[in-house]
């Protein structure tokens, strides 16, 4: 009896150090941020001196035109970037999943962009986008075409930022998809070939569904990252022209450092956090829902059969 109790507690004992580290490293900063979002807090004050304002920061933000603009830009950016990257990354993986000579070298080349520090990527692209000496406009000029205002026009700047991000992060999706593809059960694919599936049908009915768990996680990771992207845009456009590329994390950093409103910045971060939580939870709930539905269907079918 006594030992049984002790035994049952043992795992928790071993878990305790990890739990403690987790609590300090993860929960403390989040708690701090949540608390700060209820304050009217200026960086020159200590946190204790800041005035408690309840939900005022949140409510003000909802009415704040430029915050809403920035929120919209972020959503748009994340949605476009992640869709493009998923599409290109998975597509490339499907294309390059074969054993011909030189393929492993090609694969290695493909993942290089991901290894470069974001700041460097930003600088590199800024030079390439340069209105007169950048490679793009020089090429256009040599071809006798009009130069493009890559970073000085709102819409073009948004596109430029997207191009740079797609360039850097497609490889991430590419390698994960490729790994997923190569661990697929080969025999199921052979069966599909016998069953008469064309290349496309194999991709659509066998490969993609079997890769789905990996793709979902990859997509979620990329989404979370895309909502938080900062450096490349900071270096490329610094949010401009106007607010056209001012994504939320840029606005948060400016609110904190330029406008010196830590409470508001914290509230913005929390909005972002909530958004990501909703996204993750939504995905989770959808999976749960699909699972229970499948279980119910099966129970019905087997009940009817017996």
């Amino acid at each position: 009896m006594q030992t049984a109790n002790v035994n049952r507690l043992t795992p928790y004992l071993f878990l305790a150090p990890a739990a403690a580290v987790l609590a300090i490293a993860l929960l403390y900063p989040i708690g701090y941020m949540i608390y700060a979002s209820f304050l009217d807090w200026n960086p020159s004050q200590r946190i204790g001196e800041a005035e408690f304002v309840g939900l005022r920061n949140y409510i003000n933000l909802l009415g704040d035109e430029s915050f809403r603009e920035s929120f919209a830009v972020t959503l748009k950016f994340a949605a476009i970037v992640v869709s493009l990257e998923m599409f290109v990354g998975v597509g490339l993986a499907l294309l390059l999943d074969r054993n011909i000579r030189g393929m492993s070298l090609l694969r290695t080349l493909f993942i290089l962009p991901m290894m470069i520090a974001p700041i460097v990527v930003g600088l590199m692209w800024r030079y390439m986008y340069h209105p007169t000496v950048g490679i793009f406009n020089r090429t256009l000029k040599n071809l006798g075409l009009e130069p493009i205002p890559w970073l000085s026009d709102g819409d073009w700047a948004f596109a430029s930022v997207i191009i740079a991000d797609v360039w850097q992060w497609t490889p991430f999706i590419f390698i994960l998809s490729l790994a997923a593809l190569q661990s697929l059960p080969q025999s199921a694919l052979e069966a599909a070939r016998i069953d008469g599936a064309t290349g496309w049908q194999q991709i659509w009915y066998i490969k993609l569904p079997l890769m789905m768990p990996v793709l979902v996680v990859t997509c979620l990771l990329r989404l979370i990252d895309a909502f938080k992207v900062l450096e490349v845009i900071l270096v490329l456009t610094n949010g401009g022209p106007g607010l056209s590329t001012e994504i939320l994390s840029l606005r948060i950093s400016r609110t904190a450092s330029e406008f010196r409103e830590l409470g508001v910045a914290a509230a913005m971060s929390n909005y972002l956090l909530i958004l990501l939580l909703v996204l993750t939870l939504g995905m989770f709930l959808y999976n749960k829902f699909a699972e229970t539905r499948a279980l119910r269907l099966r129970a019905e079918a087997e009940g009817a059969a017996s």
């Binding site: 052979e190 016998i194 069953d195 079997l210 499948a294």
Partner: protein, 360 residues
């Protein structure tokens, strides 16, 4: 349904030669059984025929049409994989109907077909499950069902019943035999099971290390095997082989060895080339040894173990230092540990050249 011809088909995996050139003709509508020890290249042969492996040489013809460059789906083939190869993400109904859905068969027809085949295989109640939620035998039946719902010209079965219990296996065997008689399809069937091979096959092909040893009807293989390997592979319990030598005494040829001396029947003697004596291997089927010593040439055997199988018993006996199996009806009063004289049906004995293994 095409006549299938393997013309000098070769297969190597890198440096490993799995199939030396093989020639094989499968007549239209024939049920061909491939048998052979594990690793002899049966699955490889099927997979080549299905188009899942490329040829290293030679060509396969369907009715004189070379097909080795065709995709599997262009060959009009259904296949049961040795490892089942079910689609893990689809439920059983979807697994079985995949080919039909791709072929855009009307929905009602698909449902009807799947249900009928599933009921025949006793998996009708599992249709909504995923493969991971089935037992090995159930999965195997799904693999079988996935092939049977199709209306392909050629069916390839790679050990499709290996994981089923005896009763189900017998039932499936009957279903297959019926199918063979009713529908006019080519079927190629790999099995380790003697009963399946003998009962289902119009033609049995015995392979060893990639080489086709012999092909023919079950009866041909049983009665006139070309060599010791085929003789030992076909028939259950397996044929007894004992060392011996031939001697000529006036008009009669005898085969003699450790603990026995048996007369050779005239027909076999006539086929013997040259002159005796020489070293041979004598093959005696367990069923050619009778309890009644008067029923054939006498041979004295020491019964070591009696394995009771119901109506039949298999006696493990010693003849000198060599082991012989005897198949007898169970009602005889034979006890282990006794020495007894049995009768050998000499015209069923086979003589193999000891060096080459070929039957004389």
């Amino acid at each position: 349904m095409p006549k299938i011809v393997f013309d000098k088909v070769e297969k190597s995996f890198g440096p490993v030669k799995v199939l030396p050139p093989i020639d094989l003709t499968l007549e239209d509508g024939e049920f061909t059984v491939l048998v052979g020890p594990s690793g002899c290249g049966k699955s490889t042969t099927l997979r080549i025929l299905a188009g899942l492996e490329t040829l290293s040489g030679g060509e396969i013809f369907f009715d004189d049409r070379p097909i080795s460059k065709l995709e599997p789906k262009e060959r009009d083939i259904a296949m049961v994989f040795q490892d089942y190869a079910l689609y893990p993400h689809m439920n059983i109904a979807k697994n079985m109907s995949f080919a039909l859905r791709l072929a855009r068969v009307p929905k009602a027809e698909i449902t009807e077909k799947v249900q009928r085949v599933a009921d025949m295989l006793n998996i009708g109640h599992l249709l909504e499950r995923k493969p991971a939620e089935l037992s090995g035998g159930q999965r195997q039946r799904v693999a079988m069902g996935r092939a049977l719902v199709r209306d392909a010209g050629t069916f390839l079965f790679d050990e499709p019943l290996s994981n089923l219990d005896a009763k189900l296996r017998a039932k499936m065997r009957t279903e297959l035999a019926e199918m063979r008689d009713v529908i006019d399809k080519n079927m190629v069937y790999v099995t380790h099971d003697q009963v399946e091979a003998m009962t289902l096959g119009d033609r049995i092909v015995v392979m060893n290390e990639g080489i086709i040893q012999q092909q023919g009807s079950p009866e041909e293989l049983f009665k006139t095997p070309v060599n010791q390997f085929v003789a030992g592979f076909i028939g259950s319990p397996t044929m007894n082989f004992v060392e011996g030598e031939l001697l000529q005494e006036s008009d009669q040829v005898w085969v003699q060895g450790d603990g026995y001396k048996l007369p050779l029947d005239a027909e076999t003697s006539a086929r013997l080339p040259g002159t005796a004596p020489r070293d041979v291997t004598l093959g005696i089927r367990p069923s050619s040894l009778l309890v009644d010593p008067a029923a054939g040439a006498p041979i004295e055997l020491k019964v070591v173990v009696s394995e009771y199988l119901g109506a039949q018993s298999v006696l493990v006996t010693h003849c000198g230092a060599q082991e012989l199996l005897v198949e007898t009806p169970s009602d005889g009063p034979i006890k282990a540990g006794t020495a007894q004289t049995f009768g050998v049906i000499t015209r069923e004995m086979m003589i193999f050249d000891k060096a080459s293994g070929l039957r004389v």
